[in-house]
Symmetry: D3
Subunit: 279 residues, 6 copies
């Protein structure tokens, strides 16, 4: 169950309305790596976790915090949209500055949400659950979480540079710091799991069932060998169980495939169609 | 530019047709973490990389390999669909085994693709580019790549357990081993970058601009304190720059938001609507 | 069957081209609550209706009218795009007014549709059938229809304020009036059904099968009790069958869930992963 | 801010695993009218509400409750998936009952979520924010909310009939009762608003700006006049401001549209293409 | 404007209910090449056509017919769902035949649409306007239309083979014949346009502006030269303006791209990250 | 397998950055008819082709070339985004030209991809596999391919007119010429197949099974008879097997449908709801 507290986790008050920036800020609310994504991803991972009470509790703590970030961003966006000159087109025609605002706004902020936040990204794509995952394997999922905090902090930093409003910058400085914590946190949780499971996910698949002779080979499949200079091309593998090898050129282990014709009632191109150059 | 070689990277020949399994195998071809995702993600990251020739070459090598995996899976699925009893419904009515196959198949394998592979997942969602990203920040992107190889190997292992066909298992044992390599590879590339950049993405955002006093605090926002027992709740932070703290209960730094009314020409509920309990 | 009449239901002629407004007007053509939504929703509800000839006829009448509205909007948008300065970029560079138009247009109006209407909303999301529903339960569906006419009229009124073109305003004044009728119409149809079925959908589910002791309780799950002042918190319930109660704090009837571990061949995080703070 | 409580709002324990039913139950978790939809819809409406503290509080109360329903359904689905025979295909081949389970399951429950709930509907479509809306006009939005509770309760009742598991039925009897309350609640809130605003949304658009002569006419646009027998075809309109009229046949107020040719640099079919039958 | 006639264009009555087949038949109602696609594609092309009254009339005629096909399929699907054993799970447990039906049905036919048709395809993807196009160039669009009639007839023929129900086969024999007509029709319309415009779309782009020296070359970019045996590899080009050439190996006209670093405030991986193998 | 060559197929270097044009150019990279669509469509058609080695080779050749076009466009877009003034908002406030650029950019080019290309169209819709198809019937698929090359060249020509940058025009002149070749090529391949199969797809469905009496009739379903003047309304049909007829008015072969009531446990509107005008 959830209980809602009226106070915001942190201030979300811009110094002045800025509907063009409101459109951009939507990215970290409803975009691929936005706050809706992390909130629902952590909650689903928590609900699906089965035997690890500590990690379940961790996921619920952070999932609840991300809901608070959704709230802060929704509030900030609504305030950035205050007094947006949505209707006064005569004024706009005369004032290029007003015209620029109208042109740069997301029109749905006026037409659809009545100057409120949208559950969408900075170009208007509605948020979709195809962004997120809860796999039941915590190491796989914590890596996904670290990814989301990394991409999310990157986007927040870019947005920080795209405004001069002290109120917006203040809120972003809070969110960026929380992303610092959350990256550190997932790194710590990953370290805990890797120390018990080694680094390859899933750790419980029997090694003898995979084709181990290709499990540490790097295949050069593009012109040049600049890729041979990386750590992945030589030395002990990161799981400590193999030795990296750089293979150039990369081999083909299989043949050119030949597929059987389909039955006639599928109505594919029939085999009787000539396949030569007599025509 | 790309050049296509007819031979498959590895064998993709099942021992017998199995249209129900073909449906399931679609997940690692056209699902969120399937081969289309990694192929296009690595290629876009390579094309967008600007100054790091070694990493660009790495991305093109692995992107090209993933295209070969798309090809292997498409070939395997087409063969699993060989001789599928799509049309002979009278036989199906008499033979429960045939009926079960018809019921468990993806109907689009018969109606849409004529017993060929679909660019879709195991329930039929078409592949979408909203699965992938190329951010320009390699550490953020390599973490995403490690995630995809982790979730992808997990799914391949699950699919390995869901069949007894030796030909399918053989191909999966190859793909699983390549995922082992690719996890090791991204871990190695991440280690290279972290050793130069520290662990928080992006590393170049000035620390003094974030609200450092909350950058290492864990907020307990759910009942119980099981989450206090993790590495993330005490000790040196993973970036070596702070000390984790467990804060319980979590504070609210902001106030309850009060939003201004919108202009009348937005036609929101007007402020004159009574907001009390006189009715 | 359908028969098409060449004349428009109402005039759709702007006084002057305005490609920026054309982009905005797409919202009520191909957006969530646009005319494609209502047209297809009413037609599917009509085709799926099984025993109620009067309501089926009603749905076909209004569905057919909404197709005429799609047509009017498509025509209006094509005319608003007349003479759009899509190609003359040199002129644009010199004339800020032309540049503003180019910047505010939907680029797909030039590149994709050749100055014609798109089946998409004001930010370019293609129309999707996930917007609509035909459930077989007319009271549920008529409430959905009333919703669409309410949100649709709201958007049309906002768009009315966003233009000064008398031709556009004339067409919108017609559409707004039709939405007035359609709201009245669905309200009337809902009143007919509610008078026979009572107000809770579906009316035919046996009351004794639902947990009646919680069927009229309001749960206070957020800070403050402003919500206790509404009609929903006290007095006779709207269906006349119960008494509203305001419950604060809201109880938890269930326990904290404990889930079984998954079988090993699912490769989730194994129960052997330590779940404590010894590390 | 949100605070999470470990106990479930109500029990979510099936009597036995049933992975086929787990697939169906996804509809009211992640489908169009599922709990994710109502939770996020109410929260966004609350965050976007500007001057009506009572309604904002109402929305946060119910939004928080719907999050608890998401949690109950996620828990129930995970338990219905306990011990699902995902991997033992040899057993399946011998036992038709096991085969039927495998055929009827959502394969992503095994491959993607590791026997956990998915943020998706009963056929696997990921949840999308295009399902929801927060318009800033409370009457429009409360009608949408009533719709979602109506369609949602209808689906829950259908699912109640599709199982014989007492534990599942017990949980559904709770959710169905809550939907009874929520329909009553939105009806009450709607009644409050309608008593102040009249029934047509938005109430603040000046009536003289709409084309009032068509604001109460029903247009017969399909064969037959069964639709003339409804309440919408005669008598006082529901808003009390007009008189319903049944117009048959429906008039066309506009002309057949003639569109201007596009400029040549759009490369549409040129006007010089002959438009007659001389060929 | 549209006028609806109650009679169906053709019979849509199955001999017996078959909910499993109803799921499959959805493909040609709401799939990529289904009747919703052609109906809306033709109508939008008609509404967007600007100077060619004959082609506009053609498009409206066929668009109206396709709406009648949507209606026939919706009716057929509703009847195939008659008496579907959606709720009687006890019976299902005892009767494998009933169980097979339940397993093979689209669960949304029971839960969402109440035994009515859905605006979705055979695996449940909702119809989306991203399937269709109206470009303003009739030759481009008529080729798209010919494609849709070709793929659509192919799918209808496959579905014809997948049932033994005489009523369903009768309806499909009508739709297949209409697709025969519509392929002939678009071929005729294409022939008219090609005879005036030549075959390359768009015909009005000045030839001297394209790089004519590569306009008739076939590039061999895959192993083997089987592709050299086709008509496209030698002889006069189809537009009569060039000569096909088979180029093997295919040349690269450009260099390996080198991209500039991004400004620091984008926070991409900085150029200072070492790009060599010293580590 | 695929092998990547570092050199671009053709130059992709603009004369100057132009982030607004970069947004537009996305259409032919990641839009419905963009290069991702043709690349993946041809590759899937190739992988699914079963007995026609010449056509398989053709598809792999052209699929590989289209991947090179994806690469060229990604490179061009990254360069058009060089030095985009994403962050310097103070400068923008002072310089209307900079402001116009910021307003016309796709914000995701700055926030999401760090000045790199996106796998999306010109309004930001992510690429989706619902754009493409591989049906197993080569004639159907080659018509789809011809369509994509026709719509794609049309869009490239429009984009050619929308820029004055010589470098961009140079690259487009190459792509336009390749589209000329590819239209010619698919026309040639179609001619080969039609000469062996006749023109109606699929050619192998027995003619006696379709309702031949309606296979060559044109139905006038809209006001006016302008459509009677086309080649499709009279004379020999294009397949040489029938005679076109113009039927006006179009007949209805079926009756008005009457559907059975659903079982009570579906909870649709019950038949007992009055269906007349007594109220």
């Amino acid at each position: 169950m959830f209980y809602h507290i009226k106070d915001l986790q942190y201030h979300a008050k811009p110094s002045r309305p800025d509907p063009v920036y409101a459109k951009k800020l939507q990215e970290i609310l409803g975009g691929q790596f936005g706050e809706i994504s992390v909130a629902l991803q952590y909650l689903f991972q928590g609900w699906n976790s089965r035997v690890n009470a500590k990690y379940r509790d961790l996921l619920m703590d952070v999932g609840a915090e991300e809901l608070a970030h959704v709230e802060m961003l929704a509030t900030m966006i609504a305030r950035l949209l205050n007094d947006a000159p949505v209707a006064d087109q005569e004024a706009a025609a005369k004032d290029p500055a007003v015209g620029a605002i109208l042109g740069g706004m997301n029109p749905q902020h006026a037409i659809v949400s009545g100057l409120g936040a949208l559950p969408a990204d900075s170009v208007g794509n509605p948020w979709t659950a195809s962004y997120i995952n809860a796999s039941g394997n915590l190491l796989a999922d914590f890596r996904m979480n670290l990814t989301y905090e990394s991409q999310g902090r990157l986007q927040a930093c870019r947005l920080y540079e795209m405004t001069t409003d002290p109120g917006v910058k203040d809120m972003l400085s809070f969110l960026i710091a929380r992303d610092t914590m959350h990256q550190n946190m997932w790194l710590a949780a990953i370290a805990e799991l890797e120390s018990q499971e080694n680094v390859v996910v899933p750790s419980t698949f029997p090694r003898e069932l995979e084709k181990q002779e290709v499990a540490y080979d790097f295949y050069n499949l593009s012109e040049g060998d600049a890729s041979s200079k990386g750590r992945w091309a030589h030395g002990k593998s990161m799981d400590g169980l193999g030795e990296f090898r750089y293979i150039s050129p990369a081999p083909a282990f299989g043949d050119a495939p030949k597929l059987k014709p389909t039955p006639p009632d599928v109505f594919n191109t029939p085999p009787t169609v000539r396949n030569d150059n007599e025509e």
